[in-house]
């Protein structure tokens, strides 16, 4: 039985806008990632997946605020810790983050090595600059990055190189959990492949124990992660093993989202790209009932008023709908038949 590296219980966070309005971006999200596993989080832009990534770090700064719930990283419950203790003992060591736009993730006026020094000295008081350099050089070489990069400014690196440098810096302290927020979406295809290869290598080499990978590019997710979670309007709507999630979704939203997936090697080229009509609800005032109700093909009057919770469907599958699994599958089969 592998250890649970990251466990999140009923985590809620919100944004407070400059007009003092609350935006409930993450609503009672629970998840668990075991050692050696990777979890993908998918959803439309604005569904709260990037906010979830930020929230999982357990270190909040405006406009994002913690509301309730617990985050347990490698057995340590960090929700009750002081922010400064989280910063010193958790960030970078237990959990690390790769930002969405790594292009600008590095301070443009600081050499890579100097930033690495800043990071390590923040956590290890006795580290010397010489040691740090040796360590960084070794790590970079292990990850297939030239050591000269250390002496450069970010502006001198190409986009793909910058992203890989950021990843290398993120795993400098060998964190247990790595959260990658769309790490490859801004890159060209070659660089994308290198980044994905690098992330896989990190898992295989045991430099990180678990990973959460966030993206809106579903084919990518299918190839990279073990499990997939679909988010909609700040909530999890469905979760399960990636193959089942992609080829056999239960929730109408997942179904719609997966309808847009193209997996060429599976011969699914002819699957039509279907955009789901409508827009997500306003999270300043989340709807009382099912959040997807307004866009759902199978909506019923009670959907609009009933608060729907996640239903278990065996094998770690869970989905958020008042209709039973069987009924939904029947409906999908009927649609398929009509075509």
């Amino acid at each position: 039985m592998a250890n649970t590296m990251l466990e999140v219980k009923e985590l809620s966070t919100k944004y407070i806008t400059r007009f003092r309005e609350d935006v409930y971006a993450v609503d009672r999200v629970s998840l668990a990632v075991k050692e050696g596993r990777s979890l993908g989080i998918a959803g439309e832009s604005g569904c709260g997946k990037s906010t979830l990534a930020l929230s999982l770090m357990g270190y909040y700064f405006p406009p994002l605020h913690y509301t309730s719930g617990e985050i347990i990283i490698n057995g340590k419950n960090i929700s009750g810790m002081k922010p400064d203790d989280v910063r010193k003992s958790i960030l970078g060591r237990e959990i690390a983050y790769i930002p969405q736009a790594a292009m600008n993730a590095l301070n443009p006026t600081r050499k890579i090595i100097h930033f690495i020094e800043d990071v390590i000295m923040e956590h290890e008081v006795y580290a010397t600059k010489k040691d740090i350099y040796e360590r960084a050089k070794k790590l970079f070489e292990t990850l297939g990055l030239p050591a000269e990069v250390l002496q450069k400014y970010p502006v001198e690196l190409s986009g793909g190189m910058k992203q890989r440098t950021v990843i290398a810096i993120s795993v400098l302290l060998l964190p247990k959990v790595l959260i990658a927020d769309e790490p490859s979406s801004a890159l060209d295809v070659t660089s994308q492949k290198m980044v994905i290869k690098m992330l896989r290598h990190l898992m295989e080499a045991g430099m990180i124990s678990s990973m959460i990978f966030i993206t809106h590019e579903l084919p990518l997710l299918y190839n990279v992660v073990d499990d997939i979670m679909v988010m909609y309007a700040g909530q999890i709507v469905e979760t399960g093993a990636s193959r089942e999630m992609v080829f056999d979704p239960i929730h109408p939203y997942s179904k719609g989202l997966m309808g847009s997936i193209i997996v060429p090697e599976q011969g699914l080229r002819d699957v039509k790209l279907t955009a789901i009509p409508g827009v997500p609800p306003n999270l300043k005032k989340p709807p009382a009932g099912c959040r997807f109700a307004e866009r759902c093909r199978f909506v019923r009057p009670e959907c609009l008023v009933t608060n729907v919770s996640l239903r278990q469907a065996g094998d770690g599958r869970a989905y958020r709908c008042i209709l039973p699994e069987a009924e939904l599958r029947e409906a999908y089969a009927r649609e398929e038949h009509k075509k």
């Binding site: 010193k88 930033f115 800043d118 923040e122 400014y153 001198e156």
Partner: protein, 334 residues
Amino acid sequence: MKGYLRYFLNKLGWFAITFVFAFLLNFILPRLMPGDPVAAIVARFAQGMSNSTGVQAIYEQYVELFGTNKPMWEQFVIYLQNVAKGDFGFSFSQYPRTVADVLKASLWWTIALQFPAIIVGWLIGNTLGALAAYLKGGFDKVLMPLSIFVSNFPPFGMAVIFMVVFGVNLKWFPTSGGYGFDLIPSFSWQFIQSVIIHYQMPFWSIVIIAIGGQAIGMRSMAIYELNADYVKYSRFMGIKDSKIVGYVFRNAMLPQITGLALSIGTMVGGALVAEIVFSYPGLGTTLLRAVLGQDYPLISASTLIITVMVLFANFIIEILYGFIDPRIKAVQAD
């Protein structure tokens, strides 16, 4: 170092080109006007002058000096030679003083006033703007509208208000001049004291205007930087806030330095007018006298000197910037 040298040479070349161009403009613009400029100007000037031999002397000297009856290119060569010798001819309005003599006196006053005032205003303004971006809240809410107002206030208006409040009403500082009118410039304690007292109002009125504009610029830059991705990433790597603030302000500062280079011309223009309000014995006041006295050679030489000053300041800032922003050396080295 190789990278920096390249940057330096590049800037030096650019500085030289701009200088040549500014020099040409200074020569050509007045000559684009129809007619014999020297004759017209001397004639206009002569209307108010009773000493007709003086007028005649000036006229002859100028025709001789500028060769206005010769072709344009020859005039240009003569102009070049005169400038190289530092000989701008006689001043019309302050005859028999030469233009070089008049300017030599006022140039140092202007440099001593404007250079420190602009630097001090820049420093204070950037500090305030950075604080406003970082502290936000009440400090920001008070400082920003105030800065917007001050920076939009005409420079001469600020000078007039300073003068009326602190000079005429409160009588804290003298209202005009660079030193007491009963004193002769010397290195006596009394003279220096008088200079310091006369210095305050022009100095602070220029500083205040500079503060406003710089504070606004620095605030936007700092807010922009505070929202930059590297701030978030650095935080998530566990770096403490004080260090991140250090990153942010250093980075926000850099565009402010180039901003200073670009706006220094406008600032000097405003400060020259402020000099006029206080009758400060610098280039601004000299320029006003030259205009009032239709003193063409003095105007031409003043504008040339002001341009050179601004160009030079610009050049110095760019050179310093190359030292401060590490990216320049790095990128140029490739």
